[in-house]
C-alpha cells in the first residue's frame, strides 16, 4: 500500500523538495497542536482508567514528534522509476508534463456546486450538467461531452434509481 520511491544513495534533496517537506512537517505539527487544543475538554483519565482524551492526545504527541523528525530529515527524494512504467500509476512524483492545476480545480468546483445543488435540482438535470463540465474540463470535445452528458447519467440512474431503488433526488 505504500507509495513513493525507494531511497537513492544519500544525496541531498533539491531546495524545492526540502521546502515542500518542511511544509508537510509544519502542516502535521499544526494538526497535532489543533488536536491537543480540541481535546482539552476531553477527560484524559488516569493510567488505570484512560479516558476519551487519552488516545487522541497520545496520537497528537506522536504526530508532533514525527513531524519534527521529518523536518530534520535530510533524506533523498524518491527516484524516478527505472522502467517505462507510467509515473502517475506508481505514485512517482515527477510528472510527465507541467502540472495542469486547472483540471482538478475546475472538477472540484464543479463537484462542490453539484453537491450544494443536490437538494434543489433534480438528478437528471444536475448530473448531465456536471458531466458536461467534467468532460470539457478534461479536454474533451463538445461532441464527446454532449454524448457523455446524455449517456452516463442515464446509466447511473438506471443502475441506482431504477435497479437498486436509491433515491438520487
Amino acid at each position: 500500500m505504500s507509495e513513493g520511491g525507494r531511497a537513492g544513495s544519500g544525496t541531498v534533496p533539491p531546495r524545492g523538495v526540502r521546502w515542500r517537506n518542511l511544509g508537510v512537517s509544519a502542516s502535521f505539527a499544526g494538526l497535532a497542536l489543533a488536536v491537543l487544543w480540541a481535546s482539552r475538554h476531553l477527560p484524559a483519565g488516569i493510567a488505570s482508567l484512560p479516558g476519551p482524551g487519552f488516545f487522541p492526545s497520545l496520537l497528537a504527541l506522536v504526530i508532533l514528534g514525527f513531524a519534527i523528525v521529518h523536518a530534520l530529515d535530510r533524506g533523498s527524494p524518491a527516484l524516478p522509476p527505472a522502467t517505462g512504467a507510467d509515473p502517475a500509476e506508481i505514485g512517482n512524483p515527477s510528472p510527465r508534463h507541467d502540472p495542469a492545476w486547472r483540471m482538478p480545480v475546475v472538477a472540484t468546483l464543479a463537484l462542490l456546486v453539484y453537491l450544494v445543488s443536490w437538494e434543489w435540482v433534480d438528478f437528471l438535470i444536475r448530473t448531465p450538467l456536471l458531466t458536461l463540465v467534467l468532460m470539457r474540463a478534461s479536454g474533451s470535445t463538445w461532441r464527446s461531452a454532449a454524448l457523455a452528458a446524455a449517456l452516463v447519467p442515464l446509466l447511473l440512474y438506471a443502475m441506482f434509481q431504477l435497479g437498486l431503488r436509491v433515491d438520487l433526488g
Binding site: 500500500m1 505504500s2 507509495e3 513513493g4 520511491g5 525507494r6 531511497a7 537513492g8 544513495s9 544519500g10 494538526l31 488536536v35 481535546s39 477527560p43 493510567a47 488505570s48 482508567l49 484512560p50 476519551p52 488516545f55 487522541p56 496520537l59 497528537a60 504526530i63 513531524a67 521529518h70 527524494p77 524518491a78 522509476p81 527505472a82 522502467t83 517505462g84 512504467a85 507510467d86 509515473p87 502517475a88 500509476e89 506508481i90 505514485g91 512517482n92 510528472p95 510527465r96 508534463h97 495542469a100 483540471m103 482538478p104 472538477a107 453537491l115 467534467l134 468532460m135 478534461s138 474533451s140 464527446s144 461531452a145 457523455a148 447511473l156 441506482f160 437498486l164 436509491v166 433515491d167
Partner: protein, 511 residues
C-alpha cells in the same frame, strides 16, 4: 465438514456465479486500463454490494480483485504501461518479449502463471488460515494492541526514505478513526456537534475518495496535456503469435514459478507489502538464481513467470492476513474489510469460529476466480488490448460520477459524499506531496482496534505498562515493530556508503 459443504454450496448458486463473472469482467477492465487499479475498482463497486448478500458481494469484489491483477499485465506486456502497480515488474520482460513478436506467449505466461500464483496462495490460505486464526484466539487486548502497532510500523517501514511520512500518514489514519463517539464511554470526540459523525467517519466513502477521486485528480494534474490527445500513445502488436509455451519453456519456468508462489504469498501476507513489492523482490531473486541472468529485462520468460506468479500470489497472502487477523495485507483487502463490515461480518479469528462457512466460500470463490480469469486472459486479451484506447476524459468523468453516486448510495447520506470529496482532495495532496496512502488506510482500519485494546489492556493491568510489554507475544511484536522502523534507517545508512541500482518505487500495493 458441515461448514465446508455449506460454504461451497453457497458459491454454486447461479447469482453468486453471475456476480463473480461480472466482477471478473469489471476487474479485467479496471486492471487493463492504465490509470484504473484493482483498489479503485473494489472501492467504487463496494457500495453496490450493500444490496447483495455477503456471498454475492464477496463474489463480485473478489472477482474484481482477482481479475484486475492479471489483467494489469496486458498493457504492461503489450504497451509497456503497467495496468496496475502489481504488473510493473511483468513489463520488464513481458514487453521485450512482445517486441520480439511473441506477444501471445507473453499473454499466455501471464494467464497461466497468474493462475498458478493465485491458486497456490489460496492453497496457503486454506491450509494456514485456520491454524493462524486458532492461535490468534489466544490473543488478549495487549496482543491486539501490539499487533496493530506492528501493522502500522511495518507500513511505515516499507515506505523507504519516506518513513517519517509513512508514520505521519498512519497516525493521521488513527486520528481520523477517533472521530465519533468514544468506544468505551460514548463521549463525542471531534464531531463539532454534527450528529452524522457520531458513528465515526464512514470508511468506504473515504476509500472511494482516496483511491477514486484522488487518483483521478492526480492524473488530471500530471497527464492533463496528454489527455487532450485522447488515448494511449502506443498501439498493441497486431500479431500475437502462439499463446501457450512449449515443454522446454515450461521446464525453464518451473523454478521461477515456484519462487514466485512462495515469495509472493509471504510478501502478500505481510501487512504492508502487496503484489508490486512481491513481484519486484521475486524478479530480482530469480535473476540472481538464474543460469541466464543476462536475459532478464530483455524478454526472459523466467523473469516474466517469476514476477507474474509473485504478484498474483500476493492476493492469497493478503487475504490470509485480512481474514485471520483483521489486518489488511494490501489496499484492496483493506476495502474488502469495509465491505464485510457492511454485511455485519468482522474479519479476524472470531470469523473462523462463528462463520467458517463464509471463509470456505471465500476460498472457493478465489479458486473459481483464478480459473475463470486464466481462461479469460487468453480468450479476451485482444478485446482488452482494444479497450486500452478509451479516452481519459471518459474514464475520469465516469469515475468521478460513480464515486459521487456510489458514496451517496451507501446510506442515502449527502454527508458521505462530502466526506468522499474531502478524502479525494486529501488523496490528491498526499500523492502530490509523496506521502504514502497505505499507512493512512491501515490507521483508519486499525484505529478502533488499537485504541480499545490499549485502553482495555491498561484497565486490566491497572495502568502498569511494564506488565503489558513483558507479555511474550507483545514483546515479540513490539520488538518486530521497532526493527521494522529501524531497519530501513540502517539500510539507508548502508546504501549511502555503497551505491546500488535503483529499483522502481512501489505503488499502492496490490494494485
Amino acid at each position: 465438514m458441515e461448514a465446508l459443504a455449506t460454504g461451497f454450496t453457497a458459491i454454486l448458486q447461479p447469482m453468486v456465479l453471475l456476480y463473480l463473472m461480472g466482477g471478473l469482467l469489471m476487474g479485467a477492465l479496471f486492471g487493463a486500463l492504465p490509470g484504473l487499479t484493482a483498489t479503485m475498482g473494489v472501492a467504487l463497486l463496494t457500495p453496490i454490494t450493500f444490496w447483495l448478500n455477503a456471498e454475492e458481494g464477496m463474489a463480485m469484489l473478489l472477482g474484481i480483485y482477482c481479475g484486475a491483477i492479471p489483467a494489469g499485465g496486458v498493457p504492461a506486456l503489450l504497451l509497456n504501461i503497467p495496468g496496475t502497480p502489481a504488473s510493473i515488474a511483468a513489463s520488464w520482460d513481458g514487453y521485450p518479449l512482445s517486441q520480439r513478436g511473441e506477444a501471445g506467449l507473453a499473454l499466455g505466461i501471464n494467464s497461466v502463471f497468474g493462475f498458478i500464483g493465485q491458486v497456490t496462495s489460496v492453497l496457503f490460505l486454506a491450509i494456514a488460515a485456520f491454524p493462524i486464526a486458532s492461535f490468534s484466539l489466544r490473543f488478549g487486548p495487549p496482543e491486539y494492541f501490539a499487533l496493530a502497532l506492528f501493522g502500522i510500523s511495518l507500513m511505515a517501514g516499507v515506505s523507504g526514505n519516506q518513513m517519517a511520512k509513512g508514520m505521519l500518514s498512519g497516525m493521521l489514519g488513527l486520528l481520523v478513526s477517533t472521530i465519533g463517539l468514544d468506544p468505551m464511554m460514548a463521549v463525542a470526540r471531534f464531531t463539532f456537534g454534527q450528529a452524522e459523525f457520531y458513528d465515526g467517519i464512514a470508511f468506504v466513502p473515504v476509500m472511494i475518495g482516496l483511491f477514486g477521486v484522488g487518483e483521478v485528480f492526480h492524473q488530471m494534474l500530471t497527464d492533463g496535456a496528454s489527455a487532450r490527445v485522447g488515448s494511449s500513445p502506443a498501439t498493441p502488436p497486431a500479431v500475437l503469435g502462439r499463446v501457450l509455451p512449449d515443454w522446454a519453456a515450461w521446464k525453464r519456468m518451473l523454478v521461477p514459478g515456484a519462487i514466485g508462489s512462495g515469495v509472493g504469498t509471504v510478501v502478500g501476507a505481510i501487512p504492508a507489502a502487496g503484489g508490486d513489492i512481491a513481484a519486484v523482490i521475486c524478479w530480482e531473486q530469480t535473476r540472481r538464481l538464474s543460469r541466464k541472468p543476462e536475459e532478464f529485462g530483455k524478454g526472459s520468460i523466467e523473469g516474466l513467470a517469476a514476477s507474474t506468479t509473485a504478484c498474483n500470489s500476493a492476493i492469497g497472502g493478503a487475504m490470509t492476513t485480512m481474514l485471520t487477523l483483521g489486518i489488511p495485507g494490501d489496499a484492496p483487502s483493506a476495502i474488502l474489510i469495509g465491505a464485510l463490515l457492511i454485511h455485519g461480518v468482522q474479519p479476524g479469528p472470531l470469523l473462523f469460529r462463528d462463520n467458517p462457512a463464509l471463509v470456505y466460500s471465500i476460498i472457493g470463490l478465489m479458486v473459481l476466480a483464478a480459473l475463470l480469469i486464466a481462461v479469460l486472459g487468453v480468450v479476451a486479451a485482444r478485446p482488452l488490448a482494444a479497450a486500452l484506447r478509451v479516452p481519459k476524459p471518459w474514464l475520469w468523468t465516469a469515475i468521478l460520477l460513480l464515486s459521487v453516486v456510489g458514496s451517496y448510495a451507501l446510506s442515502n447520506a449527502i454527508t458521505d459524499v462530502w466526506v468522499m470529496l474531502a478524502a479525494g482532495l486529501l488523496g490528491l495532496a498526499f500523492r502530490w506531496l509523496q506521502i504514502p496512502l497505505g499507512p493512512l488506510v491501515l490507521g483508519l482500519i486499525l484505529g478502533p482496534m488499537m485504541e480499545s485494546n490499549l485502553r482495555r489492556a491498561l484497565i486490566l493491568s491497572r495502568g502498569d505498562w511494564e506488565s503489558i510489554f513483558l507479555r511474550p507475544i507483545v514483546a515479540f511484536l513490539v520488538v518486530a515493530a521497532l526493527l521494522s522502523l529501524v531497519w530501513p534507517l540502517i539500510q539507508r545508512y548502508r546504501s549511502g556508503r555503497k551505491p546500488r541500482d535503483p529499483l522502481p518505487g512501489p505503488g499502492e500495493s496490490g494494485g
